[in-house]
């Protein structure tokens, strides 16, 4: 999150609403550790990353939905061959994210 602070502060000064997505847990082989974070504005601007690029698109959709509904949530992405997941990590691990509005 450290590297997102400047972007987030600028967006907040400009009055944008922001959603924050953080990796909270990783099972198996995962590219990023807990604490890896992404911030998304309601206008769709993005800072940071939570994987090697595999799931960022889906995280943006979740983030925009969280901003629209105010409904903070856990989201998990597993191996992309698993039918349970529409989008997944190609490395075989599972990443658990917490997505919330940055209204605190």
């Amino acid at each position: 999150m450290r590297e997102l602070i400047n972007d987030i502060q600028r967006w907040r000064r400009q009055g944008h609403r922001i959603a924050l997505a953080r990796v909270v847990d990783v099972e198996g082989s995962g590219p990023r550790l807990p604490g890896a974070a992404m911030a998304v504005t309601e206008g769709g601007e993005v800072a940071g990353s939570v994987s090697g690029g595999c799931v960022e698109g889906a995280v943006v959709s979740e983030a925009l939905d969280v901003l629209a509904t105010g409904d903070r949530r856990m989201v998990s992405f597993g191996y992309s061959d698993d039918e349970a997941f529409a989008v997944g990590l190609t490395c075989g691990g599972t990443v658990h994210l917490f997505v919330e509005p940055l209204d605190w």
Partner: protein, 275 residues
């Protein structure tokens, strides 16, 4: 209600260690605090001087806040981030509330002895990796902030004197790079570095300089066990020639030493890429 994030941003900008706890999940039965969901509540904690604790926010229950504050400070000292489970009033061995504890430890430190051209490149690369970088050289004309604009501090002093001052604060995640290749500076720098707990001590120099230096270090009473801690000559064997390439070879060695990995090409190894 924007005060928790703003305080976090302020502390991170000042490189103050701090830990953020967030309720990320709860079972249906657990509804602390006026029946509202606790998910998305935050608690920001840090240790202040003299064993005090600064706490901002709440997870919605006094008992839970107390236990999480204690655990979060423990995780912060260990530099760990992860998920923990509690009962709704902070009971251990219960799973009603899931809390993500995110530690923001102070950045690891890199001390670079010797204000040479290789130093400027190493400072740039170390900053990319998030180190707090100190450049130290006894020669006032070389140790200037103009030459190392990205360094967090440039100290004009003898290496052993700086190490005597900051050495006790250094930990395993911190690193020392001795780039002077002048025995007058690097012998005291190495002896000073060996007295600390840093996880990496790299020393620049040709094979001939290295042999000569080992001789002098032994004469100064450094044991073989201590000499085995040195990465000398510094860096991985990737054929680096320029200061920038050398900087990459040094930080690659630092990473490989920390992770205990082989430093061979992934194409030449098998097994998981990430642990």
């Amino acid at each position: 209600m924007d005060q928790i994030f703003d305080r976090l941003a302020e502390l991170l900008a000042d490189e103050v260690p701090v830990v953020l706890a967030t309720v990320i999940d709860e079972t249906d039965e657990s509804v602390p605090g006026a029946g509202e969901s606790a998910v998305g509540r935050h608690l920001l904690v840090r240790r202040t001087t003299g064993d005090g604790v600064e706490v901002l926010g709440s997870l919605g229950d006094e008992g839970l806040d107390r236990v999480v504050t204690r655990d979060a400070l423990g995780e912060l000292s260990a530099g760990r981030s992860g998920v923990r489970h509690y009962g709704e009033h902070g009971e251990a061995r219960e799973e009603a509330i899931t809390v993500f504890v995110e530690s923001f430890a102070a950045p690891p430190r890199m001390l670079v002895f010797g204000a040479v051209d290789f130093t400027a490149a190493l400072v740039r690369v170390a900053k990319v990796l998030g180190y707090r970088v100190t450049v130290c050289d006894a020669r006032e004309v070389f140790a200037t902030t103009q030459r190392f604009p990205l360094a967090d501090e440039v100290v004009v002093d003898w290496p052993d004197r700086l190490l005597a001052e900051v050495g006790p604060e250094l930990r395993r995640r911190d690193v020392v790079c001795v780039l002077t290749h002048d025995v007058k500076f690097d012998v005291p720098a190495i002896i000073g570095a060996l007295a600390t707990s840093v996880g990496y001590i790299g020393v620049m120099g040709s094979r001939r300089t290295h042999d000569d230096r080992l001789e002098r270090l032994r004469e100064a009473g450094v044991t073989d066990e201590e000499l085995a801690r040195l990465r000398s000559p510094i860096g991985l064997d990737i054929g680096a020639r320029t200061p920038e390439e050398t900087a990459i070879s040094i930080v690659s060695e630092i990473i490989a030493l920390r992770t205990g990995r082989s430093a061979r090409g992934l194409s030449a190894t098998d097994g998981p890429i990430h642990d």
